[in-house]
């Protein structure tokens, strides 16, 4: 009889233990996405407090045990590793970022001379609609074009949320449109391609009374791009026994002009930055 009582007591303890174990049972989702609702299953009976913590998130809910608890998507905007805790039981699960929806695009430099190798860089950071960095490899397309000219188009697969590209500057000046796109998201930056150093700088001179009007031919770089207006061109007059005269003229509509005193026998030269142009020696004709 005593043996029977022991057996019954042992069975009761096992039933109680099994019931207690069912009360703490949590079923977390295997796959979850930021911004989407999730369902967490619970075991047992009665009421309990469910706590869900994760990056930037802390949710506390009174739940009825033995049912399922739904957490709406607007409460789960962050991706990362989360933990659900219910009545002493804890389970971890991972919320992945939503599909790519945003790009942060760093394009450097904002201004660059034409025909330079590896001077333009673009770095794209891929985010979902809730600003979660998407660490999964994602193809990002980079397009670079100038004034409808030939365009560079390249697709780069991101690594750890970042895709980057380094490329040459085109040979044609203008505002280059540098676009990074992923899915429906795209970001545009403008890189100003500017003329390089003047090339083949040439001037001519005309005498007007006691003055000499000097002007350059249209000032262009070696790729044929006009050097921007406002660039300094220095006209220098030496010799002729009247000292040295200089004028730092500005290019205007592609041409630099200046007025110098007409000094017979003087030599005229022209320079822009560190680039020298032609020389003119003033003889009887001028």
């Amino acid at each position: 009889m005593r043996k029977l009582l022991y057996i019954i007591a042992a069975i009761a303890v096992c039933i109680f233990a099994a019931d207690s174990a069912r009360a703490a049972e949590l079923r977390v989702p295997q796959q979850a996405t930021a911004g989407a609702a999730i369902t967490i299953g619970t075991g047992g009976s009665g009421e309990g407090t469910l706590i869900v913590t994760g990056p930037g998130t802390m949710i506390k809910k009174k739940v009825k045990l033995g049912g399922e608890v739904t957490i709406p998507g607007e409460e789960l905007r962050h991706s990362g590793r989360f933990t659900a805790i219910l009545e002493g039981d804890a389970r971890s699960f991972y919320i992945a970022p939503a599909p790519p929806a945003k790009l942060n695009f760093l394009a450097r430099p904002s201004r660059v001379p034409v025909s330079q190798p590896d001077v333009i860089s673009g770095v794209a950071f891929i985010f979902d609609n809730f600003d979660n960095l998407i660490l999964q490899s994602t193809p990002v397309r980079f397009d670079l074009s100038v004034n409808g000219g030939s365009a560079l188009s390249k697709t780069v697969t991101s690594k750890d949320g970042i895709a980057w590209l380094k490329t040459n500057s085109a040979s044609r000046e203008g505002a280059a449109q540098f676009v990074a796109s992923v899915g429906n998201a795209n970001v545009r930056r403008v890189i100003q391609l500017v003329a390089s150093e003047p090339c083949g700088l040439r001037m001519k001179a005309n005498r007007q009374g006691n003055s000499l009007m000097v002007e350059t031919d249209p000032v262009r770089d070696c790729s044929g791009n006009p050097v921007p207006d406002g660039t300094i061109v220095t006209f220098i007059q030496t010799g002729g026994g009247q000292g040295r005269s200089t004028v730092d003229a500005r290019i205007k509509k592609g041409i630099a002009r200046a007025t110098l005193p007409a000094v017979p026998g003087a030599t005229l030269s022209v320079a822009s930055g560190v680039v020298l142009g032609n020389e003119i020696r003033m003889g009887g004709g001028l």
Binding site: R111, G243, T246, V247, A249, R250, G273, V274
Partner: protein
């Protein structure tokens, strides 16, 4: 008795003080019976801003009206003289007869940009029993009224707003480069000089600073070029710079660290100033000076021109940089002479030179 003594003592004291002050004033007052004394008295009135008194000492034979005299002395058109005050006037008689005298005057003005020295030879004439200053009317070239079309460039900048997304683009600072640098020791001071070029296609506000590194590798001093450079550099513009470190020798330093700093700033491409007839000469004191004429080729008045001169030796190395302010405004198309001092020990080594002009215009920021 006491009642009478006290007023007597006080009266005597008053008489004594009046006598002393009268005698003192007489001693301080310049002796206008001599040419030099009259010149001193004239400049004392100028210094005291007593324009009427100074004009009264001008010889009628000068044929200068009061307005022109005032403008010549105290400036006009917002030029440097309008921001100046005469501090000191040294006079020395070069030649004197009974009727006239030549007096060399070295005037020191305190101005908005520091001390400004002016050497002027004035002629004194004896008229009506006293010495008077012959002050000729300044020669002014009056241009015929005309319209000078000016359509030079101006650069403006749009900066990103504070609410813009992270990583949004900003316009970058202009690329500037030091193209030459030379460190010399003069009179117990270290002078760092050279040239900086704006290699970009946009204007920049450039400041060149230098740090002297001592023999132990520690920084000794840091200075910037201050006004010995052109701060606003247009695209491809080359400017000299000079940085002075006083009371230090080259032996004390191991090397020099240079840093050209550039900021993108709004700027205008005008005015254009031509520098004509530059030549190195000796001045009246026998010192080397670089002289020439400035011509404002634009239509806008340049109030305070600042001349910067770079001197090169036969290998093209920058061997000196000097500067000077011009006390006359640059009116459109009117040549204005300038003179910049050059060290006498440097002058024999100068092979060529380059002059650039900074300009300060009052009605433009």
């Amino acid at each position: 008795m006491k009642k009478k003594t006290f007023p007597l003592i006080m009266g005597a004291l008053v008489v004594l003080l009046v006598a002393v002050s009268t005698l003192g004033a007489g001693r301080l007052r310049a002796n206008t019976s001599t040419a030099e004394g009259a010149a001193q008295a004239f400049f004392a009135k100028v210094r005291a801003h007593d324009a009427d008194g100074a004009y009264a000492m001008v010889s009628p034979s000068s044929n200068i009206d009061k307005g022109s005299f005032y403008r010549d002395l105290y400036g006009s058109d917002g030029n440097l003289k309008t921001f100046s005050n005469l501090q000191q006037a040294e006079t020395r008689v070069l030649r004197e007869t009974d009727a006239e005298a030549d007096v060399r005057t070295n005037l020191q003005w305190s101005t908005a940009v520091g001390a400004f020295n002016e050497a002027r030879d004035i002629k004194m004439v004896k008229e009506s029993g006293g010495w008077h200053v012959f002050w000729p009317a300044p020669q002014q070239v009056n241009l015929p009224p005309q319209v000078i079309p000016v359509n030079y460039l101006r650069w403006d900048i749009i900066h990103p707003r504070s609410g813009d997304e992270w990583g949004s683009q900003n316009v970058e600072a202009p690329r500037v480069r030091i193209v030459s640098m030379n460190a010399v020791e003069k009179d117990g001071n270290i002078i760092i000089m050279g040239e900086v070029v704006n290699e970009d296609t946009v204007p920049g506000f450039v400041n060149v600073s230098a740090t002297l590194v001592g023999q132990d590798g520690k920084d000794l001093r840091e200075e910037s070029s201050f006004d010995k450079t052109s701060h606003t550099l247009l695209p491809k513009e080359v400017s000299p710079f000079r940085i002075d470190f006083v009371n230090i020798t080259l032996k004390q330093i191991k090397n020099v660290r240079m840093s050209p700093n550039a900021l993108l700033v709004p700027a205008s491409a005008d005015p254009v100033v031509g520098v004509l007839h530059q030549r190195i000469e000796k001045d009246a004191r026998g010192h080397s000076v670089l002289r020439g004429e400035l011509v404002n080729e634009s239509g806008q008045t340049v109030n305070i021109p600042h001349v910067l001169a770079t001197y090169y030796d036969n290998s093209g190395k920058v061997i000196w940089v000097s500067d000077g302010y011009v006390d006359k405004a640059l009116l459109p198309q009117v040549p204005v002479p300038f003179s910049v001092e050059l060290r006498d020990d440097v002058a024999p080594n100068v092979q060529t030179y380059r002059v650039t002009v900074n300009n300060y215009t009052i009605d433009r920021s």
